[in-house]
């Protein structure tokens, strides 16, 4: 009995040590990626190519999801607000929810599952098929040539995707509340305009999405580079990318929100 308890505690200890150790490896890798980003900046066509894969190809899921989330927000917001006779404020509700929270967060979650998983799988498979080793043998640093361009492409695309998500959401809310339900168009837009502050709302949302972009892509490239070079290893790494980045996005969002909006309004 005592033995079992001791081995249980040992297990917890081992796992804790392992996680801290892995976090250390990931941090070192992250710094390495930053240090070796010179090639990506000098040869920006490498980043542009990846921007297409991570950014442009993620657009469709972001646009469609944004539209539907905005429509649902409009519908639910209208239902609640009309009870208090303030349905004209639905534009404000839709815009603030999107710009401050849902835009950056949901776009980042979608980005993690669409682009993050693809980055991990691609780098992991390149490692499994010895493409990274071959590159090293050709005196080309795989971190500078493969990892860094993907990292920067993800970091650049994330804020744009979040902005796109918010724009589509606001449009979706407009479709449902103004066109279908019949809320006054003038009040939808003018209330939104007066309530949404550039500095507090839009800029803070933008900063959030930048943080999420760095977090998601850093996790994705690390998991791919660190994946055991087998089919099982790559699939595990892909799953870990989605799970870890989702948790990190939500945790980071809470911390950032606490800093940004505490005591505002």
């Amino acid at each position: 009995m005592l033995k079992q308890i001791i081995s249980g505690i040992q297990n917890i200890g081992h796992r804790a040590i392992e996680s801290v150790w892995r976090l250390g490896v990931a941090s070192r890798f992250f710094i390495l990626v930053l240090l070796k980003s010179g090639t990506s900046l000098r040869r920006f066509d490498l980043v542009i190519r990846e921007l297409y894969f991570t950014g442009v190809l993620s657009l469709i899921i972001i646009v469609v999801s944004g539209l539907f989330v905005g429509m649902v927000l409009g519908l639910q917001g209208y239902e609640t607000l009309q009870k208090y006779g303030s349905e004209s404020a639905v534009g404000t509700l839709v815009a603030l929810s999107l710009v401050r929270e849902l835009g950056p967060v949901v776009a980042a979650l979608l980005f993690a599952s669409r682009a993050g998983s693809a980055i991990t799988a691609e780098i992991g498979l390149m490692k499994a098929t010895e493409q990274l080793a071959a590159m090293g043998m050709m005196a080309v640093d795989p971190i500078a040539r493969v990892v860094a361009p993907r990292f920067w492409a993800g970091v650049i695309s994330m804020p744009f995707l979040a902005a796109m998500f918010s724009v589509m959401g606001v449009f979706g809310g407009y479709l449902v509340t103004v066109l279908f339900i019949g809320v006054d168009e003038g009040s939808y837009w003018s209330q939104m305009q007066s309530a949404v502050d550039f500095r507090f709302d839009i800029l803070n949302g933008f900063i959030k999405s930048c943080f999420f972009g760095v977090a998601v892509t850093a996790i994705a490239v690390f998991e791919g580079y660190d994946a055991p070079p087998t089919a099982e290893g790559v699939s595990g790494a892909t799953t870990r990318t989605v799970v870890t980045s989702s948790l990190v996005i939500l945790g980071l969002d809470f911390i950032l929100t606490a800093f940004m909006f505490r005591g505002v309004s």
Partner: protein, 270 residues
């Protein structure tokens, strides 16, 4: 020129904390030679290639490549040295997102400032040497195993290296592709005046093309010699390896306790 030493391996040791992999390896490889390194799976052959390319550091001893001790070089010098080396991986390791042409052009674009028109000519010449000039627009997923390895071969000779290392180049090939690859290794080595190290356990194909053979077993060189010497060797290990005998110095059975004991038959008198 042909007798100039390119690689000198001197009393090379390599071990992981729990296990010794290589133990006191000595080799000399000259320019223009094709050298086979043979041995069973897990005997340390690939480790030897990694030591020569500087991917790992020896525990003691050294590898000298073109007069430079590999493990004493810093990262920049090592990368500079690696431009003089090529490596053919077991399954080619072509970049799957690039076409055959771009794969061969990869190193030229990364390491030289050659104009695109010259790169085009060079790439087509390299592809012509392996017989795949007509397939330069194909993607790696459209190639057979043998073709992929030929493209990889063209890619590894892109910058005219002094040395090419082949990690199991014959694995999983049909007999025609097998002799195509074998002959290419020999021909390219001769025409480019480089050195080739072929890590393999394909005895028959490699003995046809190589100048010298090293056998590695349990981390030491068990035997060495020209193909003729090796074929005539009476050393038990070499004999077992060349003729693919099931039992010999390399036992069929993994070490175990007595068979009768394992089956609990000890007490029963036969």
């Amino acid at each position: 020129m042909a007798s100039e030493t390119l690689i000198e391996v001197n009393d090379l040791n390599f071990s992981y904390p729990a296990r010794a992999i290589l133990n006191g390896i000595n080799m000399t490889m000259r320019r223009g030679q094709v050298i086979a390194v043979m041995g069973g799976s897990g005997s340390g052959k690939t480790t030897l290639l990694r030591l020569i390319s500087g991917a790992i550091q020896p525990t003691s001893g050294y590898v000298k490549f073109a007069g430079e001790v590999v493990h004493e070089l810093d990262r920049d010098a090592l990368f500079k040295l690696r431009r003089k080396m090529g490596m053919l991986f077991q399954f080619g390791a072509l970049f799957t997102d690039l076409s055959v042409f771009d794969n061969v052009a990869f190193q030229m674009r990364e390491h030289t400032n050659l104009p695109e028109s010259m790169i085009r000519d060079l790439v087509l010449m390299k592809l012509h040497a392996v017989g795949l000039r007509g397939g330069h627009q194909l993607m790696p997923n459209e190639l057979s195993g043998g073709m992929a390895r030929r493209v990889a071969l063209a890619r590894s000779i892109a910058l005219d290296p002094m040395l090419i290392m082949y990690d199991e180049p014959f694995t999983g090939l049909d007999p025609i592709s097998l002799s195509v690859i074998g002959n290419l290794i020999r021909r390219l080595t001769d025409s480019l005046g480089m050195t080739s190290i072929v890590v393999t356990h394909d005895v028959h194909e490699s003995l046809k093309i190589v100048d010298y053979v090293y056998f590695i077993a349990d981390g030491v060189i068990a035997a060495e010699g020209t193909p003729k010497e090796v074929r005539e060797s009476i050393a038990p290990f070499v004999h077992q390896f060349i003729h693919g005998e099931e039992d010999g110095p390399v036992p069929f059975h993994y070490p175990a306790q007595a068979y009768r004991k394992d089956l609990n038959l000890e007490d029963i008198v036969a």
